[in-house]
Amino acid sequence: MLSIEKGAARLQRDDVLAGFKKLLPISVFVVIFGVAFGLAAVQTGLDEVSILSMSTLVFAGASQFAVLKLWGTQVPLVPLMVTVFAVNARHLLMGATLYPWLRELPRAKRYGVMLVVSDANWAMAMQAFARGEAGLGLVLGGGLALWSTWILGTWLGLYFGSAIRDPVSLGLDMVMGCFLLAMVIGGQKNLRILVIWCVAAASSLLAYWYLPENSHVVVGALAGGILGAFWVEKKIEH
């Protein structure tokens, strides 16, 4: 059961700096993904200004790679919007899960923090909240670390993309997956949560196979969430 500890919604300069430092190790790998994106974008035929402005303004790697697949002499507007929305729809859920803490902030800060929300900093923040610690500094500071290294990597990819020709054979494509899995396993575990995860996993797979592309994250997450809402935890007797 999530409980909102006093002070967990804190967002001081120190929290942001600590969050930045905490996400720096994983950001090193974000540079590599950025290089891979920069190279793929050049090979797809995008110009440098478009590539750099995309990484800076969009800052959502999976959707950026997905758009490269749509790229031709023309890009159809509706499929473009649908693809980007579907791949990034998990941000909606992340925003919702952060809301109990974000609502303690003034509106401008609340939406400012959300500008840089991404998988890794969100997952770390949720873990911090689960321990009753402050987490919004991880979202903002960590997000700034991920954002700046994503842009740096993209820029390097324009010129030195061929330097890491094959990140897949080095296992580097698995860094983010393994990081997120470590976050999942590092969290609270009990029978109720394991069953919720199994339902989320099964729904996600069914959606992956049978529903429109890119719907699986939202379907799985909602299935797990709905089960959790109706399966009330037993109160712990003190």
């Binding site: 999530l2 035929g45 758009v67 729809a89 109990p100 296992g171 949560i193 989320a200 797979l205």
Partner: protein
């Protein structure tokens, strides 16, 4: 409707992507500001937060190659044993690299 990828076209595409992505980053918070955070909503949120990652990772493991599968398995095992993320992630990457090298 199509956007040309010449002239200002690419920048229009980037702008569309940026706006749609921003809507996903802001939308969840915006919608939640109309929802009273009761007990059941809190249960929903806390169950959903782990489920997002599980739903993201499951197809990666099932549809991925053996390198991806063994990477995730190694990370899971090391994380359960050592309870530290960095060794767990390192184990996963090494496992993927080894499987793909042979």
């Amino acid at each position: 409707m199509n956007i040309e990828t010449t002239g200002h076209g690419p920048l229009i595409i980037v702008a569309v992507m940026a706006l749609v992505t921003l809507a996903t980053r802001w939308g969840g918070v915006f919608i939640m500001s109309f929802v009273p955070i009761g007990y059941r909503v809190q249960l929903f949120i806390s169950a959903m937060s782990g489920s997002v990652l599980v739903a993201l990772l499951t197809p990666l493991a099932v549809a991925g190659d053996n390198g991806a599968r063994l990477a995730l398995l190694s990370t899971a095992v090391v994380m359960l044993l050592v309870k530290k993320p960095l060794p767990a992630i390192a184990a996963g990457i090494v496992a993927a690299a080894l499987v793909r090298a042979f």
